[in-house]
Symmetry: C2
Subunit: 215 residues, 2 copies
């Protein structure tokens, strides 16, 4: 009985890792669509999100059946509830990738990001993709030290967002209102993806140690 | 035993209603700070958020103890897990009010919103405050018809957001980049508050009927 329980729990974490990998791909492709003005890739990201939503429902069903049938207490209970929350956050990260793809789609065949701002977006997306990749690995390894290290990457994201605001609000910003608005919202989407990554890492720490890291 | 269980469950929903009322106040005050450039009110909203976070923790503790001690199944289990999610969404709505207050604070003693855009922000905030107020009432009444009606207010929010984008991206936008960026982000914050309100309403429908409304 207990063995079946741990098999089911492992299978839920396996599914969470799979979704995290799909989110990692979604962020990468949405950024590619954004920086190349490729409407087809943008559409792919938007339609692939349904698969993430479907897997979320599966994980929820599995977690509920585990809660109902196995009646776990204490640590096990917290683990399953943490898994339910992690899948909610992963789904939001998928939605945020869709938002990035939709900004790209809106400007096709043009490119939403002015050439001199491309490096900033490239850096933001690189940080976000790296964090999502780390989250996928963390869910699989449950490595507490690696989970704690993720918060540092989030500081890099905050720094990049400050840099981009400084540029687009400077007096010699040459691109006008529309790209500034696009960049402000894109910055917000990447920042939120990073926030969710940190939050999932904190939940992994909690699952393993029973304690929530102070943020 | 079962009676104690339902008392505890009612108490959790009572706490959720209290937090929703605090969020309603926070959205209203953040908007007031935003439209008047009142830095003191902005600070109050920012510091009051700690109380919402604290109550969130209390609700989580109560929900966990109910899950551990009473070992609920099926419908009761789903209700408690729904409550855990609702409190997570309410906390996010509080965070979003803080974001609005921080935009206000950044421009003090000035006002972030140009005079001709004040009506748009007033309407967005009125819709958001009304939706949060309805959510508070819904949590208390568990009125399924009222919960379903909330989705219509969300359409009004989407319309307002489209209107504001049209204005700030029009060729004769006179206010330059900074207010446009502020308004784009503010629109995003109010929209997310409304999204969370709809999501909570859907969870209330689910708790009562066992079915999630299609959105």
């Amino acid at each position: 009985m207990r063995e079946a329980y741990y098999d089911q729990l492992d299978s839920i974490f396996g599914q969470l890792g799979t979704i995290a990998r799909e989110v990692e791909v979604a962020v990468g492709r949405a950024t590619q669509a954004l920086l190349t003005g490729d409407g087809e890739i943008a559409e792919q990201v938007i339609s692939a999100d349904a698969s993430i939503d479907r897997q979320r429902e599966e994980i929820e069903d599995n977690a509920f059946s585990l809660l109902s049938l196995q009646q776990p207490v204490a640590g096990d209970l917290r683990t399953i509830v943490a898994a339910l929350r992690m899948v909610g956050e992963l789904e939001r990260m998928g939605d945020l990738s869709v938002h990035v793809a939709k900004v790209a789609r809106l400007r096709v065949p043009g490119v939403a990001v002015p050439p001199d701002m491309v490096p900033t977006i490239e850096q933001m997306s690189a940080v976000a993709i790296d964090m999502v990749g780390q989250v996928a690995a963390l869910i699989e390894s449950r490595d507490v030290d690696a989970a704690k290290a993720l918060a540092e990457d989030d500081e890099e994201m905050d720094r990049l967002r400050r840099v981009s605001f400084r540029e687009l609000l400077s007096n010699d910003w040459p691109h006008g209102v529309e790209p500034a608005v696009d960049l402000a919202l894109l910055g917000r989407y990447y920042e939120r993806i990073a926030d969710h990554a940190v939050s999932i890492a904190n939940r992994v720490v909690f699952v393993v140690t029973g304690e929530t890291p102070s943020s």
